[in-house]
Amino acid sequence: MQRRKFLSLSGLAAFAAMAPARLSAEDYRTTKPDVWTSHTVDDSIKKLYGSNRYIKEGVKLTAPDVAANGGAIPVDISSNIPTKSVAVFQDANPESAVAVFTVHEGGIVNYSIKMKMKASGTITVILESLDGKLYTATKTLEVALGGCEG
């Protein structure tokens, strides 16, 4: 089965090779590798933005109070602030960083993702505005069934 799967995918590899390599935007995993190995939210934010001073408003973060399945917790993030980037962290897993969005021309800060949390904890969102200020929102939730499997 594994082999068959591989063969069926190899046809697509040719197609992928044609994809332009001119994605000019920022790959935070390459430019800020330390962010992804940090074990605390504070540390991770500092490594990403070089500061831990943020304004506690302007960002809307929605997640359930109790997540039945920690393997797929729905998280919605939105804001009207002109934004450069948005980062998502949590404090339940071995490392803190979940995702960093880069906002491009025409992009709207209105994201929904599903994330994993091993146990109950707090999700922290940091928004970097175009004028370089940091805004934040947090949400503490209970995770009924921890989800780092899969």
């Binding site: 994809a19 935007a25 995993r29 992804w36 917790i73 960083a97 992009g107 994201y111 599903k114």
Partner: protein, 107 residues
């Protein structure tokens, strides 16, 4: 049943124009295997590390990701500056360097 499995695709993209805003929902097929789980199973950790969406050659969505997105992650996002019939293309790359693309049409 999972639609991406059914069709053998690795990505499902829905894009809809409402007013001047394009709303996109993308379903990506990937195990998103964390370091912890991989260790337990004796496998190599592997997860999507970056995903981008382009329309007319311009990036409209970009995210760098860790292993803590769900298995078969979902991304919903919105942007301005595209019209009905425009094609949206999404590409991801994972930790092991695999890369896949998918296409959708703005309706």
């Amino acid at each position: 049943m999972n639609p991406i499995d059914k069709q053998g695709n690795h990505m499902k993209i829905k894009a809809k124009l409402k007013g001047d805003i394009v709303k996109v929902k993308a379903l990506v097929k990937h195990d998103m295997l964390t370091y912890d789980t991989a260790k337990k199973k004796g496998l190599k950790a592997n997860f999507i590390t970056r995903l981008t969406a382009t329309v007319n050659g311009k990036i409209v969505f970009e995210v760098s990701t860790s292993q803590f997105l769900s298995k078969n992650p979902i991304f919903k996002f919105q942007f301005r500056g595209a019209g009905k019939g425009d094609k949206i293309e999404m590409t991801w790359i994972d930790l092991l360097g695999n890369t896949k693309s998918g296409k959708g049409k703005i309706k």
